[in-house]
């Protein structure tokens, strides 16, 4: 029998207060199994118990009920720790050490001989792109730089099992992309990886299996491919196509199948769909959670409507449109902008072109074009990154 890297049975964590009264049930009856060589994603809204689960796997928290085995042993067993690399959700580094000293210290704790430590430190610093900043105290590092050091320390022992809690938070797009490539590469080399993330596109790209948590319970789990196959859709992936080519494809589909192309984009948003549906269902079913719930209406006190808000509206609507099946949209009651002579006086005083007074409905119809459409801007960004990285897109051809 092959021992799974991680196995939990009925894992439950109750946070108690000082008087031992139960306060929060962060994880409820969770059964996980992660096999060797798998890239496993832990998804869920804020406060759904992802980090708590990870901390229990590492022995940083003790479960209230249930069993955990990591490499077939108790999580508190220090022997297994030599095979684990861990990146917490925030990088808690020593402000008074520099990057090299930090990595050296953690290397020592893994009992690595000094020449190995030195070599790996240099290689990792190079990998995370901080070789030239390695002499600075970490207290001076920016969030993303600290995050990169966190990642480097997680890899110093060449772990068999890598646990990454929201690895991409705080990273710039290039860093995010590098992490994704790294995870895929490590996965290819047979490492087991557990990652929690909110960036569903990333998870979809790199994970073999996912588990979606809500209120500490698993709502859905399984192979990413199977989860996604439920959609009645066909996706065609091709290298970058000219708009004319796309138009011709569109025509072909229209002629042959009498259907229209739904959208032309990367397939990134589809796990998002599932995720949103699951969370929405859990909310409708009133599943208990100690984490964040759906965010409510915008509070009234937040100032009167203005151009800025119109712009935000526009951005939100653009983002909404990218979700094909959104849950019921909660319409925020926004007070109409106060109109009147006072405004005009102000505007003329400020010597600006007076804007036409609009009411809410008009604003929704109208599209006062922002510098660049948000959608286009995002697309442009991607192409920039792609060209920067100048790598052949190998998004779909990995582990089949």
């Amino acid at each position: 029998m092959i021992i799974p890297v991680v196995q939990t049975v009925g894992l439950t964590k109750l946070f108690k207060d000082f008087w031992r009264r139960a306060k929060v049930e962060a994880v409820k009856n969770l059964n996980l199994e992660i096999h060797r060589g798998e890239v496993f994603g832990l998804l869920g809204p804020n406060g759904s118990g992802k980090s708590t689960t990870i901390k229990m796997l590492l022995g940083l928290l003790y479960p209230t009920r249930g069993q955990i085995a990591v490499f077939g042993r108790a999580p508190t067993d220090v022997a297994t720790k030599a095979r684990i690399g861990f990146l917490p959700e925030e990088s808690y580094l020593y402000r008074f050490l520099n990057a090299r000293e930090t990595l050296d210290y953690y290397g020592r704790l893994f009992h690595l001989p000094s020449h190995v430590r030195r070599e790996r430190t240099e290689r990792l610093l190079e990998m995370v792109g901080l070789k030239h900043e390695a002499r600075r105290r970490l207290g001076e590092y920016s969030k993303g730089m600290a995050r990169r050091i966190g990642l480097a320390q997680a890899l110093i022992n060449d772990p068999d099992f890598l646990i990454l809690d929201e690895p991409t938070t705080g990273l710039d797009p290039i860093g995010t992309r590098q992490i994704k490539d790294l995870i895929r590469e490590l996965g290819n080399r047979g490492k087991t990886i557990l990652l929690s993330s909110h960036l569903l596109a990333d998870v979809e790209d790199v994970c073999d299996r996912v588990s979606i948590l809500y209120g500490g319970q698993q709502r859905q789990g399984g192979r990413v491919k199977e989860l996604l196959r439920q959609t009645e859709r066909t996706q065609i992936i091709a290298p970058r196509l000219a708009p004319e080519t796309i138009e011709r494809i569109r025509n072909v589909i229209r002629l042959e199948e009498e259907k229209d192309l739904i959208e032309v984009s990367s397939p990134a948003e589809r796990l998002e769909t599932i995720f949103l549906r699951i969370v929405h269902e859990a909310q409708v079913a009133n599943v208990a959670t100690s984490g964040a719930r759906a965010s409510g209406a915008m509070p009234d006190f937040l100032g009167p409507r203005d151009e800025g808000e119109a712009l935000v509206d526009e951005l939100v609507r653009a983002a909404d449109r990218r979700v094909p099946e959104p849950g019921p949209v909660e319409v925020a009651e926004v007070p109409a902008a106060p109109t009147g002579p006072a405004d005009d006086v102000l505007e003329s005083l400020l010597a600006r072109e007076p804007e036409p007074v609009r009411d809410g409905s008009e604003a929704e119809e109208e599209k006062p074009a922002p510098p660049a459409g948000p959608r286009e801007a995002i697309e442009a960004d991607r192409s920039v990154i792609d060209s920067l990285l100048s790598e052949p897109d190998k998004r779909s051809d990995h582990r089949d």
């Binding site: 901390k55 590492l58 022995g59 940083l60 928290l61 003790y62 220090v78 022997a79 720790k81 030599a82 684990i84 861990f86 917490p88 925030e90 808690y92 580094l93 020593y94 008074f96 050490l97 000293e101 210290y105 953690y106 020592r108 704790l109 893994f110 009992h111 320390q153 022992n157």
Partner: protein, 474 residues
């Protein structure tokens, strides 16, 4: 072991980079190098150096104790700032982490103590060369009592003799019907009282009287140029008008060595130390000293050993040799530097305990609470002697008694773990130029450094072992 060392190294580098450590180091440096220019003592060089040694060593002891407690902040900081997440997910057993922290703090303390010791030693010698001795006495005191580590041999009281005499007197009194028909005479108490009286009268030397003291085991260097010191304190019953106690000393057994004699005029009710040639000690390491309460003849010459002399007319003072050990003999056994190292070692053992204490508190409490707890224990340890005495008197009848007994038991257990710092404080001994014995240092190591520190460290490791490191401690 490598993990403990890694954590310890890290702790030391943190301590060095921590501003609080810098602050303490500056304060220490200021004290050590500034104090000699401020405190000049009584005008003698020996006095100035002794004052400097007392102040600087006491300050080092106190400041280092506080610094050690503050350094345990490192552990609570790592819990609060979550660096512990990185550490506890490495193959680092928790007990090794606690031990590593402790070792790091102790190592840093040892380094600082070494620096402080070197500074103090250098400064003491600097004062000695920069300031000329006031007189011959000052010069002699400097070499014999300041830059010296002297062994102290106390005279043995002939307690058996007291006991026998007390018994005899008791029996005689009974025979003589002193107690009459009183049936309530407590024989034990009565004998104890009589024994006290015997001892008092032994300590008392009547005018013209002699007292002989025998010291065994005076294993000093008997070379001609060496000296030994005699320390005593005398009271004159009936206050002498000039507050001076006059005495005659004959040092050395005349049958074995060439005795040395001297007349002393010493202030009443003070300790006095004087040097005599080491050759007065016999080859069998015994030293006999005769103390005479001499009387002056009409021509101001002392009249010796003349019990039949009508002394009342000459000088009616009775001398009482006061402290528990009426006369002490001291002789050099070691160097000033070696003695300083032993004093610092005892301070280090105290710091070892405090480091364990601070860490133990930090494993359960957040920093402000932890520092409060450990400061309380530190203060208790400094006053441990008084507390120990006070609980001896616990004990009453009935329910209250049971409560008190239970309370007393708990207190006793706690008090076993709380060390008695003053009993391992060798600063005054050192400043007096007396030898801080290796035995004392070993006792300090055993009790403070091993047993009590061990218990507290064990508790720290256990508490930390069962602690969820991700728990929020507020």
């Amino acid at each position: 072991m490598t993990s403990i060392w890694a954590v310890a190294r890290h702790m030391v580098s943190e301590a060095i980079r921590m501003k609080i450590a810098m602050f303490f180091i500056c304060l220490l440096a200021l004290l050590i190098f500034g104090l000699p220019f401020v405190a000049r003592g009584d005008g003698t060089v020996s006095g100035a150096i002794q004052a400097f040694l007392v102040y600087s060593l006491s300050a080092v002891s106190l400041l280092m104790a506080l610094l050690t407690l503050f350094m345990s902040r490192s552990l609570s900081d790592e819990l609060v700032q979550r660096q512990i997440f990185f550490l506890m997910t490495k193959p680092l057993p928790r007990w090794q982490y606690v031990l590593g922290k402790w070792f790091g703090i102790v190592l840093f303390d040892a380094l600082l103590l070494l620096l402080a010791g070197a500074g103090i030693c250098g400064m003491a010698h600097y004062i000695a060369v920069s300031q000329p001795p006031r007189d011959a006495l000052d010069r002699q005191k400097l070499t014999d009592q300041v830059f010296a580590a002297r062994h102290q041999a106390a005279v043995e009281l002939p307690t058996k003799l007291f006991e026998r005499a007390a018994r005899e007197r008791y029996e005689r009194r009974k025979e003589e019907g002193y107690y009459g028909s009183r049936g309530d005479v407590n024989e034990k108490e009565e004998i104890a009282k009589l024994r006290m009286e015997e001892e008092q009268s032994w300590r008392t030397v009547n005018p013209g009287g002699t007292r002989e003291f025998l010291f065994q085991n005076v294993r000093c260097d008997r070379s001609a140029d060496k000296t030994i010191q005699i320390r005593y304190k005398a009271m004159a019953t009936n206050y002498p008008p000039d507050e001076i106690v006059r005495s005659y000393w004959l040092i050395g057994d005349p049958e074995k060595v060439q005795p040395y004699q001297m007349l002393r005029r010493d202030a009443h009710d003070r300790f006095h130390t004087f040097s005599v040639p080491a050759g007065t000690v016999a080859e069998d390491h015994t030293l006999r000293i005769y103390f005479l309460n001499y009387v002056l003849s009409a021509d101001q010459q002392p009249i010796l050993v003349d019990l039949d002399h009508p002394y009342e007319q000459v000088r009616p003072f009775v001398i009482r040799l006061e402290p528990t050990t009426p006369v002490e003999v001291m002789f050099g056994v070691g160097s000033f530097e070696g003695n300083l190292v032993r004093v610092l070692a005892l301070i280090l053992f105290k710091l070892m305990f405090l480091a364990a204490l601070g860490l133990a508190a930090s494993t359960v409490f957040s920093f402000p609470v932890a520092i409060l707890v450990s400061l309380t224990v530190y203060v208790l340890a400094e006053f441990r002697g008084f507390i120990g005495e006070s609980i001896q008197y616990l004990g009453a009848e009935g329910l209250e008694g049971m409560f008190q007994a239970g309370f007393g038991l708990i207190l006793r257990v706690i008090l076993f773990v709380i060390p008695n710092f003053p009993s391992f404080d060798a600063v005054n001994t050192f400043v007096d130029g007396r030898n801080v014995t290796l035995m004392w240092v070993l006792q300090g190591l055993g009790m403070l450094g091993v047993v009590q520190t061990g218990i507290v460290l064990l508790a720290a490791c256990l508490m930390f072992h069962f602690r969820e490191v991700s728990e929020v401690s507020i």
